[in-house]
Symmetry: C2
Subunit: 250 residues, 2 copies
C-alpha cells in the first residue's frame, strides 16, 4: 500500500495508482499539493466553457459533471466524476475549456497549479502516462455513452446508467453487495439523470417507475438497490469491460 492513501487526497492517489505504478515520493508530492480545498454547493460551476484555467481541480468529495449547454439552453451532461477525479487535467494540453465542469452535489475540491503539475511530470514521466491512460479511459466511457444516447430506448438508457454508476461505485468501496443485489447512494435528481441520458425528467420518472415495477431496482429517495445486477445488465446491454482500466486490484 502506497503512503497517504487515507488523507483527503486518498482516492485521488488510489485512482492514479490503478492507472500506473507511481513511486512513493511522487505520491507524497501529489498528496502535499492538494492540501488546500474549497467546499461548494450543488449546481455550482467549477470551470466554465471558454475559461483558461491555470490550475487543475481534484474532486475530494461529491459528484461532478462535465456538461455543455446548447443554444436553446438545453444542457447535456457528458460524463460523471466522483471523488478522486481530475476532470480538467486536459487544460494542460488545450488551454481553452470546451465545456463546463459543474457540481452535482455538495462537493469538496482541491486545486493544483499547472506549473507544479508540469514540473512533476518532468520529474516523473510515469505521471504523464497515468494521465494519458486516464484520458483514454474517459474516452472509452464517452463511447459507451454515445451508444447509450444513440442506440438504446429510454428504459434501457436509464438502466445502463445505473449499472455503470453502481459498478464504478462498488470498485471504490461505495456500494455494498448482498448476493446478486447491490446497494448504493445515488444523489442525482431526476432532472440531472435526464440531462445525462438525453431524456426529459418526466420520461426519466416514467422509466424509473418501469424499472421499479419490473423489480429490477428498489429505491427510497437516493438509496438504490439493484436487486439482480446480472439481470439488469442483460436488460440494459451493459458490459463492464470498457470500465476495466479503472478497476482497482482486489
Amino acid at each position: 500500500m502506497a503512503p497517504h492513501f487515507n488523507g483527503p487526497a486518498g482516492t485521488f492517489l488510489q485512482r492514479l495508482n490503478v492507472l500506473a505504478d507511481l513511486p512513493a515520493d511522487l505520491s507524497t508530492a501529489l498528496h502535499d499539493l492538494v492540501a488546500n480545498s474549497r467546499c461548494l454547493g450543488a449546481n455550482h460551476d467549477i470551470v466554465l466553457q471558454g475559461d483558461q484555467p491555470s490550475q487543475c481541480c481534484v474532486i475530494l468529495e461529491g459528484w461532478v459533471s462535465r456538461n455543455k449547454v446548447g443554444a436553446a439552453g438545453k444542457r447535456q451532461i457528458t460524463s460523471l466524476h466522483f471523488s478522486g477525479a481530475t476532470p480538467d487535467i486536459q487544460s494542460l494540453l488545450h488551454p481553452v475549456m470546451d465545456h463546463n465542469i459543474t457540481t452535482l452535489t455538495k462537493t469538496k475540491v482541491g486545486f493544483i497549479p499547472h506549473s507544479h503539475m508540469r514540473s512533476l511530470m518532468e520529474r516523473f514521466p510515469v505521471l504523464k502516462e497515468a494521465f494519458w491512460k486516464d484520458t483514454s479511459l474517459e474516452l472509452a466511457i464517452a463511447r459507451e455513452w454515445e451508444v447509450n444516447l444513440g442506440a438504446r430506448s429510454a428504459v434501457e438508457r436509464t438502466a445502463h446508467l445505473f449499472c455503470e454508476i453502481a459498478t464504478r461505485l462498488e470498485w471504490f468501496g461505495r456500494a455494498t453487495r448482498s448476493g446478486s443485489a447491490l446497494s448504493f447512494e445515488m444523489p442525482l435528481t431526476q432532472i440531472q439523470l435526464g440531462e445525462a441520458t438525453g431524456l426529459s425528467s418526466v420520461h426519466i420518472n416514467r422509466s424509473m417507475r418501469t424499472l421499479r415495477a419490473s423489480g429490477m431496482i428498489e429505491q427510497t429517495r437516493h438509496w438504490f438497490t439493484i436487486s439482480d445486477l446480472p439481470k439488469l445488465a442483460a436488460f440494459a446491454d451493459f458490459n463492464p469491460d470498457y470500465l476495466i482500466p479503472e478497476r482497482p486490484q482486489d
Copy 2:
C-alpha cells in the same frame, strides 16, 4: 516543413506535428515504420471488440469508424477518422479492444508493431505527449457527439455532423471554399450517417431533404456544398472550438 510530409504516411506526420513539435529524425523513423500497407474494401472490420492487437493501424487513405454493436444488432458509430489517423493507438494502454474499427469506404491502412511504437516513445518522450493530446482531442469530439445525440433534433444533428466533417476536411485541404460556400466529397451512405447520428436511415433522408429544401446544402451523390457555412453552423449550434487542437497552422 518537416521531411517526408508527402509520402504515403504524409497526413499521419502532418497530424502528429500539429499536436506536438516532432524532431526531424522522429518523423523519419515514423515514416519508415509505415512502409507496408493493405487495401481494404468498404464495411471491412480492421479490429474487432475483444481483440488484443499487437500493432497499431495508420489510416493512409479512406474513411474509418469506431463503432459498437448492441445486443439487438443496432450499430452506433462513435467517431469518424480520415487519413492520417491512428485510431487504435490506445491498444498500447488497454490491451483489449472495447469497440470495433471498421472501414466506411475503400481504405488503405498501414501498421506499426506495438514494440516499435513503444521503443520510439522511450527515445522520444514528445511522442507520448502527441498521442495523449490526440486522445484528448478525440475526447472533446466525443463530448460534442454526446451533445449531438442527446440534445439536438434530427435535422440539427444531421446539420451539425456535416459542419464537423466539412471543417475537419477543409483543415486538411480536402474541401474548397468559394465565398461562404464550402464543397467537399462525403462518401458516407445514409445508413452510415444514421448510425453516426442515432437516427434511422429513413429519417436521415427526411432530414437531408429538409436541409436541401431550406437551401442550406446542395448535393449530388456524394458531392456536397454547404451554401452558407455560418448560417448552417448557427442552425446546428456548431462551434468549431472543440476541434481547434487539430487545426494545422496556416
